[in-house]
């Protein structure tokens, strides 16, 4: 029995094009084929069902394997967020390290540090180049103590800068510099961020080429949770509870435009010609009520993943109570969802239940001036959902 034949009958049974003759052959085939028998029995157990529709749906799903992946997206999304955060932190750390390099590398870098920006790129090469140099070129006697010192490298003894020039000259004269680069590759760069305490410090200060600023509304109140996006729409920074934000890596794109976004405010663009020395203040205009409504409706479609955490937040209920229980006006609970970031900053929030414009405003105020949001330890960011009683 060719399998394609009974498969055809089975399909005919399903789509209704089966004749009595086919049926007989099909049933004959089931006698020697347990799989087929089970299949037909199953189908016959529900003769009235529209199996064709179900099978068509299955077929569609099978032909699009991506659809399958979409089902399990909830966790990957969280993972991706963590991954993105990590990447950002590492990226910032690297940038910080690159900026820090001159002060942070210790004496070895100090010694070889070339005077100009262009030569700075060759720093690591110079470092290893110098090590080879110590073995290959013992001729200049002034060089030797420095080289030995550099190798053992414990005491912080900055060398006079004149030395650097000598070293550089020797390097280029001997032509070792040309041989050295291939051997170095990226090794020093790869290792450095790990050994240097980049991660904790990255979030503390951006000494160079970064920009600090504050986002306020038209009444001068800080806007928390505003997202600063770069030209390609990637998130660069988020304003904290005091509206402060820090932009890093401005050096790579000195003349760039950023967009500042917040749920309750109109998008504001931020153009930087060069990094100003003083903190920048960005004022945002409140979104008009009709716009708010629109955003609210849109955001209702995207369903956030309800994550634990509300109990934790509510345990900080002193502020919560202060905020909500001192008025006798009628209050109506509405549910909101938002993400909390490491320093208590919160991202855009979504209103998940029906809410009036005044309620949305209250929610926004609550999120900005309400309790201090604290993340549980070991969590990078947390999407949470809470229900709060706000005045109607």
């Amino acid at each position: 029995m060719k399998s394609s034949a009974y498969l055809k009958w089975l399909k005919q049974w399903i789509d209704g094009s089966l004749t009595a003759r086919d049926e007989q052959q099909l049933e004959q085939a089931t006698r020697e084929d347990a799989f087929l028998r089970d299949a037909l029995e199953g189908l016959q157990s529900a003769p009235e069902e529209d199996h064709e529709k179900r099978l068509a749906r299955l077929r569609k799903k099978i032909q699009q394997p991506e659809a399958k992946q979409r089902r399990g997206r909830i966790i990957p999304l969280a993972l991706r967020r963590i991954a993105a955060t990590l990447l950002l932190v590492i990226g910032l750390g690297t940038i910080w390290w690159l900026n820090q390099t001159p002060d942070n590398q210790g004496i070895s870098m100090e010694e070889v540090r070339p005077p100009t920006q262009t030569e700075a790129a060759a720093e690591p090469e110079a470092e290893t180049g110098q090590q080879e140099l110590t073995e290959a070129l013992p001729e200049p006697p002034t060089e030797e103590p420095a080289a030995v010192e550099e190798k053992s490298a414990p005491p912080p003894a900055p060398e006079p800068t004149t030395r650097d020039y000598e070293l550089d000259e020797v390097l280029t004269d001997e032509g070792i510099a040309e041989e050295a680069p291939p051997a170095i590759t990226a090794a020093p760069r790869m290792v450095q961020p790990r050994t240097s305490p980049a991660l904790p410090q990255a979030s503390e200060a951006f000494p160079l080429e970064s920009l600090q600023g504050q986002i306020i509304d038209m009444e001068g109140r800080p806007v928390a949770g505003a997202v600063i996006l770069n030209q390609s729409g990637e998130q660069e920074a988020i304003s904290d509870a005091a509206g402060n934000f820090k932009l890093s890596a401005l050096a790579s794109a000195p003349d760039s435009t950023y967009t500042v976004q917040h749920f309750n405010y109109q998008d504001t663009s931020l153009r930087l010609k060069d990094s100003p020395a003083e903190p920048l203040v960005v004022a945002m205009q409140r979104e008009s009520p009709s716009q708010l409504r629109k955003t609210y409706k849109r955001s209702k479609v995207s369903q956030p993943v309800p994550v634990g955490g509300f109990d934790y937040f509510r345990s900080d209920n002193q502020a919560y109570r202060a905020f909500f229980t001192n008025s006798r006006l009628k209050r109506n609970p509405i549910t909101i969802a938002f993400t909390v970031y490491p320093f208590g900053e919160i991202g855009n929030f979504e209103v998940l239940s029906l809410a009036s414009d005044t309620q949305i405003e209250q929610v926004s105020e609550f999120l900005q001036n309400g309790p201090q949001w604290i993340l549980p330890s070991g969590v990078d960011s947390l999407r949470t959902q809470i229900t709060i009683p706000v005045q109607e």
């Binding site: 060719k2 399998s3 394609s4 034949a5 498969l7 055809k8 089975l10 399909k11 005919q12 049974w13 399903i14 789509d15 209704g16 094009s17 089966l18 004749t19 009595a20 003759r21 049926e23 007989q24 049933e27 089931t30 006698r31 347990a34 799989f35 087929l36 028998r37 089970d38 299949a39 037909l40 029995e41 199953g42 189908l43 016959q44 157990s45 529900a46 003769p47 009235e48 069902e49 529209d50 199996h51 064709e52 179900r54 099978l55 749906r57 299955l58 077929r59 799903k61 099978i62 032909q63 394997p65 399958k68």
Partner: protein, 193 residues
Amino acid sequence: MRFRPKKEKSDAELLALYLKKDDMEVLGQLYERYLEMVYGLCLKYLSSPENAEDAAMAIFEQLPAKVNKQEIQDFRPWLYVVAKNHCLMQLRKKKNKQVIVADRMQSEDFVHPFSESDKEKQEQQFEKLEHCLETLNRQQKTCVELFYLQERTYKEIAEQLSWTVGKVRSHIQNGRRNLKNCIEALIAKKDEK
């Protein structure tokens, strides 16, 4: 073969191609061949079309892991085992919900109206059949007549009577079961005499 054009690859070829390329589309193509079978099988064990649909999808989703782990000689019997195991596992999961898998297949001694038995016997069968047809309700009778005697397809009957294919299928199935019971009763009566 008429139903399988020359170009179509065999199961083994498709399987080898999948293992080589790791292309879900190829595996889907292979699975689709037996989709009806798997779906029917699941329907038998899980008793609800919804569950059967879900199970058929779940089995497909688990397929890559299983295919990569095992050496498969022949895909079809292998798939049968895999699918059956999946359904049995599902049943075991909801143990407290007692599920009885009923064997709904007609007993083998029932002679199909078109079975190639000797003519005399067939004629006897036919007489009984005609008698028993009258005992069926109108809908079942119409459907059985149209299907077995006029050799219409389910679809054609459904169009003619403006019913759904499912309804027609159901009437034919029930009509046939009643016919069978009726004929068996007749035979039993005859034997008594």
